[in-house]
């Protein structure tokens, strides 16, 4: 889940219009860019799609961290293709956000200044090669849990972006699991790497869904608008239930002593992550927050002359063409 804790905006429009809008959403009619929409719906979506786009962009960094050290040529190619896909997802999502009247440059500025967030998970480091497997398996796995239902979200451009993204994400998840398989069946040290990656990334992956929001007003509004399709707890439970047998198959141990099958609910009971750590990460105190934002700011600042140069050239060409006509 690449968008967390999205607050909804109150709507002050005419109640009749709001009612018609809600009826349209209830009938599963997609909202398109030119259609009327409440201001709160528009702003909330910008926040959510923007945060998702930023997550794709910042998410290049922890995985890019291992491209130059990938263990085989094939793994290097798979990882390059994956990171390229993520940049591509960022592009579709920014394009979807632009249909709501915000520019990509505006959103970028807000990311770089720290005003807009990206998923907390990308503030954790990738320390050994198994982390690349675990990111695919757990992080993409958690993202898919959230994004599959979002294919049915009410806003047309967002829903279509999700359909494209989900296809690629499920590839990524399989590739991640494949790395974990190789590690788990490998040497003692490789097994140790795999377990170490799971130990470090398990709780941060559970945090991706955000704190319990069953009682949240924002969540209720966002669910009514079909911007959010399930509660955080529902998705987290589904994720745990899916992942535990996969870990067992790998011969790895989920770092949770309280993990037990609950026959009655038909799912696992599990320990909550440390939510104070989650809020610390959101405040900027995760292990990599500073590095990530520094890297993105440096890329943007160092690239200013490139963007300006290419713009100036395009302008010259346009002027020359106009003069010739």
């Amino acid at each position: 889940m690449y968008a967390q804790m999205i607050k909804s905006e109150a709507s002050t429009e005419d109640p009749k219009q709001l009612k018609e809008f809600q009826a349209k959403i209830d009938d599963n009619i997609k909202v398109e860019p030119r259609d009327w929409m409440p201001e709160g719906y528009r702003k909330t979506l910008i926040r959510q799609i923007g945060q998702h786009a930023h997550s794709e962009i910042v998410g290049q960094l922890p995985e890019g961290n291992w491209i130059t050290r990938a263990p085989t040529l094939e793994r290097k190619m798979i990882l390059l293709a994956k990171v390229q896909d993520e940049a591509g997802h960022g592009l579709y999502l920014y394009a979807a956000a632009e249909t709501l009247g915000v520019s990509r440059d505006d959103l970028t500025e807000q990311l770089l200044s720290g005003k807009m967030k990206y998923s907390s998970i990308f503030n954790y480091p990738t320390l050994n090669w198994a982390d690349i497997g675990a990111v695919g398996w757990l992080v993409d796995g958690a993202a898919i849990m959230n994004q599959v239902p979002l294919q049915r979200t009410s806003y047309g451009p967002y829903s279509r972006a999700m359909i494209r993204i989900c296809k690629e994400e499920s590839f990524h998840q399989r590739q991640g699991y494949d790395i974990m398989m190789k590690m788990a069946q490998g040497t003692e040290t490789q097994k140790k790497m795999a377990q170490d990656a799971l130990n470090r990334l398990w709780y941060p992956s559970l945090m991706m869904f955000g704190p319990s929001d069953a009682e949240s007003v924002h969540s209720t509004q966002n669910m009514a608008w079909k911007i959010k399709m399930n509660t955080n707890d529902e998705l987290r439970q589904k994720f745990v239930d899916q992942t535990v047998p996969q870990a067992q198959y790998l011969g790895l141990t989920i770092p949770d002593e309280n993990l037990t099958w609950n026959e009655e609910k038909g799912g696992y009971d599990y320990s909550d992550p440390d939510w104070s750590e989650f809020f610390d990460v959101l405040k900027g105190n995760g292990p990599c927050n500073v590095d990530r934002l520094e890297a993105r700011n440096k890329a943007w600042d160092d690239g200013a002359w490139v963007r300006d140069g290419l713009m100036a050239h395009a302008e010259k060409k346009r002027a020359a063409k106009t003069a010739a006509e």
């Binding site: 960094l61 491209i67 130059t68 160092d302 140069g309």
Partner: protein, 255 residues
């Protein structure tokens, strides 16, 4: 396959594969750090193509080397003196301008060499060249466009691109410095003597660089020592410490 000394053929294949491997590595260092999202995508894509081409070239080299070696063994278990890539490609990236200028100078070379290799007397080489040439045609189109855009952009972008060309120019001549390996390849109809490609190369880059309003330095001095492995730069060793770290630290592991 034409009758040719296996050692010579291996050297030729290592030159091809090490070029794409080392440049692919350098380009991949940009991942997530490019000036604009479209460039992140394009650079990752270029690196991906180059590593893909590496698998073919080094895979074939490994096959000839025997001992059930694989492309991965060749990539990850050789030391600096065994590498046969052009010095140009192992230089650090520098700024985005220098990275794209290097890409353009190399893409132009490949775009002339690969169509010749498609007619190689060695069927396997002809096939690899055919597959790679489609990618290279796209790479050169893109890198040339970017060199023109930045050369003929703002005052700053022009100055940076001229500095990049000045910095890299002394490494261009190595592409065309033929030796006995090239003579053997040419005699067997496997590959052209690179010296014979220079005229076409100069015409191609001359046209693009003129459009980019950049001046080719007035010097034909050339650094050498990459394609024959005699004297690499200090930079290659550092690149290998990163690229080969896992394979060296955990020998025999399957990934």
């Amino acid at each position: 396959m034409a009758d040719v000394d296996k050692k010579m053929l291996t050297q030729f294949l290592l030159r091809m594969g090490d070029n794409t491997l080392i440049l692919g590595h350098r380009v991949s260092e940009w991942c997530g750090h490019a000036p604009v999202l479209e460039e992140d995508i394009a650079l990752a894509n270029t690196a991906l193509d180059l590593i893909g081409q590496t698998q073919f070239w080094l895979g074939y080299a490994a096959e000839i080397m025997g001992d059930s070696k694989t492309a991965d063994d060749v990539a990850f278990l050789r030391d600096v003196w065994d590498f046969r890539n052009l010095l140009l490609l192992e230089l650090p990236n520098g700024d985005f301008g220098q990275t794209l200028m290097r890409q353009f100078l190399f893409d132009s070379y490949q775009s002339i060499l690969l169509p010749r290799l498609m007619k190689s007397s060695d069927q396997h080489i002809a096939e690899i060249a055919e597959k790679s040439s489609k990618e290279v045609a796209y790479h050169v189109e893109r890198s040339a466009e970017t060199v023109v855009g930045l050369g003929d952009g703002t005052e700053e972008s022009h100055a940076r691109m001229q500095a990049a060309l000045d910095r890299l120019w002394p490494y261009v001549g190595e592409m065309f410095s033929s030796d006995e390996v090239d003579a053997a390849m040419a005699a067997a109809g496997i590959a052209p003597d690179p010296a014979t490609l220079r005229e076409e190369y100069d015409a191609l880059i001359g046209k693009v660089l003129a459009e980019a309003t950049l001046s080719i330095p007035d010097s034909d001095f050339t650094h050498k020592g990459g394609r024959n492995g005699a004297t690499h730069t200090e930079h290659l060793g550092h690149l290998l410490t990163q690229m080969q770290w896992l394979q060296r630290a955990y020998p025999g592991a399957t990934w």
